[in-house]
């Protein structure tokens, strides 16, 4: 089944994450990844939820999410071109002998070394999920000691997002917000 990526705008309130995640649990969908953080509007968080399902299931998920009262807006980003990123921090064993090889691989994948210790390195990579998977694969023989990933975050390409307002209230320049976010990701494009 295809992975569907939903962008879900929710009110930033206690318990909202539980409402959203509980919905997937009780309706029998499995969440592949879920990330949540601030959106461009104050008081509104944005979740990126990845769920393996068929198109009928995706339509139902969207309809079910929209019924939740704190959910402000739902987008199925799988329906159109989108920028999709996954951030990973990977602690790799790096002995004196292997260190150069590891650093070379990280460079090939456009990753960065963000911490160096006598016997290990911490690698940061922000890329597509598949590319992150690829780096992890090639690093494994050296010894992946620890890893943390954000799960997918996603935003559609182009100017589609500029045509709507999340909520009445303090106006936020959506265009500038979108551009800023794109800049933030440009390091790994």
């Amino acid at each position: 089944m295809k992975h569907h990526t939903f962008a879900v705008y929710v009110e930033d309130q206690p318990g909202v994450l539980n409402r959203v995640s509980s919905l997937f649990r009780r309706r029998g969908f499995n969440i592949h990844s879920l990330s949540v953080g601030n959106s461009e509007s104050a008081g509104i968080s944005r979740m990126t939820i990845v769920v393996p399902t068929d198109p009928t299931g995706a339509a139902r998920i969207r309809a079910l999410l929209e019924k939740l009262i704190p959910v402000v807006r739902v987008e199925d980003l799988s329906e159109r071109p989108a920028v999709v990123r996954d951030l990973a921090l990977i602690r790799v064993a790096a002995s004196h002998e292997s260190r150069a090889a590891v650093m070379q691989l990280v460079q090939v994948f456009d990753g960065r070394i963000v911490d160096v210790a006598p016997a290990s390195l911490v690698v940061e990579i922000c890329a597509s999920e598949a590319k992150v998977d690829g780096l992890v694969e090639v690093l494994r023989p050296y010894g992946v000691l620890e890893m943390v990933r954000t799960g997918r975050v996603a935003m559609d390409r182009g100017s589609a997002a500029e045509t709507w307002q999340v909520a009445p209230g303090p106006s936020t320049s959506l265009g500038a917000g979108a551009a800023g976010a794109a800049d933030g990701l440009s390091c790994s494009v």
């Binding site: 009110e11 318990g15 539980n18 409402r19 509980s22 009780r26 009928t56 339509a59 139902r60 309809a63 079910l64 929209e66 019924k67 939740l68 009262i69 402000v72 909520a167 009445p168």
Partner: protein, 569 residues
């Protein structure tokens, strides 16, 4: 004006039009109960908080208004869960108010503290934990909006004791619902309406499937117009009963697991299903792979998440049923389906000879006869029947022919035993001018019979027909068909229900013969107060027809022909 949170609660409820609440006091809700005395609210003291939620539900279903239940924290709140879930599954608008421990105690396992918003999250449309008096009014206003808008359902408001005790400035206007929390009713595009009209125009064997949405939307007139203009027969779901008059020539009756054979056969042979405010529940479809295999499907439904959930449809019209039918009607050409109706009539004739009503009085008392006699006695009057869950419920659906909307109240989706007596009390509160009968099995009756005390204390003149067969009858029937008659835990004894009712101060009598049914019903009706009849019916009687769970809808177990039903079955 400055008011306590407790007073703001009642100020807000009164402004929402509430005059009746059903509840049970306790420590964490005491401030609210104390303030209640200052407001024009009639409180019905229940005997168990589950009863309060069923009463609120019965009140809502009988009237279309929001039913309100109130309880304390902890066990008071958890006792409400079954009633809330019942309302959720049957889309009934109720608002439940619970007390909560003081906000500083939350999370400490304080006395009678429970996370009721967490517990009820999957069985409410939405719920609120209110910890400040400033948030009480907004929560109440939103709760009523959410409970009644779109597809109705239950909302719970959990209010901490300090939020009830504390004071703040009360402003009704400032507490208007957050516009983000409104959900506009969807409006289907004209192109889809035209597509549906075209399908109807060319269909030769259409069937309308009328669900609960007909009643919720108030679309009875439009539904009837559609059926009559197009000569289309109408089958009802259990909760759709009453949305189309049973006496109408185009009425087929109830579909599904215990639907009559001609109804399910018509659906299986149809070339078009027009589903109106129903959700293709497994109890009405049987095996989805073989369900209505020749039919195109039009689904008119207010909840977009129901579209293509169980049955893939050709045209989905997401919106308010009445509004959609109003737009659809002018596009639908008038016509008749005489051949199709003749075909159905033939199947109907075949069933009639098997009907238990055709059986002469053989000395046995059958539940189906009791129900049918109750119908004949009350058919011309404003009568609401509230059923429990099980065999008697299906016999009611088959043999009480409802001509009016909201004249049958029953727990469909959750199938909650114990529903009938409290829901009947709620219905009677909502419609005091109506005659209200609780039709209940001896199993379900024993779950909530404590509410008889409520009826007596509050002077609520419900009539109770206990269909007493000494078994958990529907489960016994499944054991009979599917578990080689191994009656594990289904034989059921009970007290002498007549003596029991008399102990409550309720007029009661027992009936063992068919000849005595009419007189007993008449006496109960004439009695000016609550009354109970213990109908001691055939013990091992069976609801026919029956489509076994998951079987093809046309593969029903038919009534024996001719009927030979004895005590040994």
């Amino acid at each position: 004006m400055t008011l306590t949170g407790a007073r703001i609660l009642w100020e807000s409820l009164v402004r929402e039009g509430v005059t009746e609440v059903f509840g049970y006091p306790g420590g964490a809700i005491l401030p609210a109960y104390d303030a209640m005395l200052e407001y024009p609210i009639r409180h019905t003291l229940v005997r168990h908080e589950q009863g309060a939620t069923h009463m609120a539900d019965g009140y809502a279903r009988a009237s279309g208004r929001v039913g309100v239940a109130i309880a304390t924290s902890g066990p008071g709140a958890t006792n409400m869960v079954t009633g809330i879930a019942t309302a959720m599954l049957d889309s009934s608008p109720i608002v439940c108010i619970t007390g909560q421990v003081g906000s500083r105690l939350i999370g400490t396992d304080a006395f009678q503290e429970i996370d009721i918003t967490g517990i009820t999250l999957p069985v409410t449309k939405h719920n609120y934990l209110v910890t400040r008096p400033d948030d009480v009014a907004a929560a109440v206003r939103e709760a009523f909006l959410i409970a009644t808008s779109g597809r109705p359902g239950p909302v719970l408001i959990d209010i901490t004791k300090d939020a009830q005790q504390g004071s703040c400035e009360f402003s009704w206007e400032a507490a208007s619902p957050d516009p983000r929390h409104r959900r506009d009713v969807p409006v289907p595009p004209e192109s889809d309406i035209s597509k549906a009209a075209a399908l109807i125009a060319t269909a030769r064997r259409p069937v309308i499937l009328a669900g609960h949405g007909v009643l919720v939307s108030g679309a009875e007139t439009e539904l009837r117009a559609l059926a009559e203009r197009t000569g289309t027969p109408v089958a009802a779901t259990l909760l759709g009963i009453g949305g189309f008059p049973a006496s109408h020539p185009l009425n087929l009756g109830m579909m599904g697991m215990h639907g009559e054979a001609w109804v399910n056969l018509a659906i299986q042979q149809a070339d078009l299903l027009i589903a109106c405010g129903m959700r293709f529940d497994d109890r009405v479809t049987g095996n989805l792979k073989t369900y209505a295999p020749h039919a195109r499907k039009i689904h008119i439904e207010i909840d977009p998440s129901e579209i293509n959930k169980n049955v893939t449809v050709d045209v989905a019209l997401v919106g308010d049923l009445r509004a959609v039918l109003e737009r659809l009607l002018p596009l639908v050409p008038s016509g008749t389906r005489a051949d199709w109706l003749r075909e159905i009539a033939t199947a109907r004739g075949d069933s009639a000879v098997r009907d238990i009503q055709s059986l002469p009085d053989d000395g046995h008392l059958y539940a189906a006869h009791v129900i049918n006699d109750l119908w004949r006695a009350t058919r011309d009057d404003d009568c609401i029947v509230v059923t429990d869950v099980g065999q008697h419920q299906m016999w009611e659906a088959q043999y009480y022919h409802h001509d009016r909307p909201r004249s049958l109240i029953t727990s469909g989706g959750l199938g909650t035993m114990g529903f009938a007596v409290p829901a009947a009390i709620g219905a009677k509160r909502a419609r005091p001018e109506a005659e209200v009968w609780a039709v209940v099995g001896d199993g379900g009756f024993q779950m909530t019979m404590c509410e008889l005390a409520t009826a007596v204390q509050e002077g609520i003149a419900i009539k109770v027909a206990v269909i007493n067969n000494g078994f958990l009858g529907m489960v016994r029937q499944w054991q009979q068909f599917f578990y080689e008659r191994r009656y594990a835990a289904t034989p059921l004894s009970g007290p002498d229900f007549v003596k029991l009712a008399e102990a409550f101060g309720i007029h009661a009598q027992a009936v063992c013969a068919r000849a005595d049914v009419d007189e007993a019903i008449g006496a109960a009706r004439r009695h000016d107060g609550p009354a109970l009849i213990d109908f001691r019916v055939e013990q091992e009687d069976t609801v026919y027809p029956m489509v076994p769970a998951g079987a093809d809808l046309h593969a029903m177990i038919r009534r024996p022909n001719p009927i030979v039903e004895t005590a040994s079955d």
